[in-house]
């Protein structure tokens, strides 16, 4: 090789991480995962009807044929049931699962790494979303939704319901940031978190502590105090992360 005449190779060790896969799965699998996640996180609680197939297909950026296969898979897995005719649709039939109710997932080294990364990523995006939400001018409807989400968390009794309400609260805060990219990031992070909490049952003694933090986050957002909101969310993430890291 005519060494010296060629430019130095780029810092491959660091920068080749820029080339991540262009898309994870097939469209079909991706849809199943998205919808299942949305249901598990309580975006569509038990008994609610999903948007129509045509609507969902557009939102997920997928053909109706593909979307229908995804729904069929969810139906076979017991997540939803489908009724035909006007006023019909696909309704959620799956009760939220509790950690114990689910066979322990096999935790591979790769999954472990992905989970730890999710905790790092969460610590960045959720506080950021909270701060941004606190900067926005909120409508009365939005304020009400946020307060409702907080109330739902406080009122939830069963662990599985509490988990869903918790996800919904975090997603609501993210939605208030009004940043599509942040919303996506938080959704993805909450999905990982949900997976972790299913695999690693966490003692519930800290729920009261967690609820106090939620209240502080919501209050800061409603009062339009970005710095406080960020700080509150950081504390919240740190506490959860410490708990989870200890159990990995």
């Amino acid at each position: 090789m005519t060494a010296g005449s060629l430019p130095e190779p780029p810092v491959t060790d660091l920068l080749d991480s820029v080339l991540h896969p262009v898309r994870g799965h097939h469209a079909f699998e991706a849809c199943v995962e998205r919808l299942a996640t949305a249901i598990r996180l309580g975006v569509y609680p038990l008994g609610t009807t999903l948007p129509s197939e045509r609507d969902l297909a557009i939102r997920l950026g997928v053909s109706r044929a593909t979307l229908r296969e995804a729904i069929a898979a969810l139906r076979e897995a017991g997540f939803v049931e489908t009724r035909r005719g006007r006023g019909g649709g696909t309704v959620v039939t799956q009760k939220p699962k509790t950690p114990a109710g689910r066979a322990a997932v096999r935790v591979t080294a790769a999954k472990r790494r992905a989970w730890l990364d999710a905790l790092d990523f969460r610590r960045v995006v959720e506080p950021g979303a909270a701060a941004l939400a606190a900067e926005r001018e909120l409508t009365d409807g939005q304020r009400e939704q946020l307060e409702q989400a907080l109330a739902d968390v406080n009122e939830a009794r069963k662990p599985a319901e509490h988990r869903q309400a918790d996800s919904r609260l975090h997603l609501t805060v993210a939605a208030l940031s009004a940043s599509p990219r942040l919303i996506e990031a938080v959704t993805s992070v909450q999905a990982s978190l949900h997976e972790m909490l299913l695999a690693i049952p966490v003692l519930d003694r800290n729920i009261a502590h967690s609820d106090r933090q939620h209240a502080r986050i919501v209050r800061s957002v409603l009062n339009g105090q970005p710095t406080r909101a960020r700080r509150a969310m950081e504390d919240h993430c740190d506490d959860t992360a410490a708990l989870l890291r200890g159990l990995l």
Copy 2:
């Protein structure tokens, strides 16, 4: 309808933003965009050779056939040239473009919105990445790479080269955070930023100011001061964003 017996519909206004498209484009287009972006951002500078087709296909999670079509498109667009045989490969032939050298992109309302969102998202993820990088124990090689990236920015004379070096510096900081998700987020943000700067020529009088901020960021990361690093990056993002928002 037996109103009242059905559960309340979820807070659709807010939470349906969770259902974003499952994948933007076809695999082919996505590959073209990724590679073009990597080249434009200086991940593969002028004259360097891309990884082999088989390697790239694996990294991008795409079949070799599809990847080859993408490379063919880049070749036709003048980005790269290809040589066969052992030691051959695909080399970057495209000189970095300067804002003026490119026909103004038509700025649609959607694009404008996406750009503004990118600025918000950037303000969250880049400071987060900087703080995380400052928390890591860095190897000597990593410290050197970071210093080199900073030096490259300072030494760049032509605007286009400065732009590439700037991207590389930011990507290097992100890479040091060692969080795949953060790296992806920063890469995506830098791609948007690059697009904006091509479309909206920015006066260069602030380069000295920007370089001072870069130096402060790098110093904080090297000294292991997460809070200072975050703050420095926040200031840097704020200044860039203010400039760009003013021109939209």
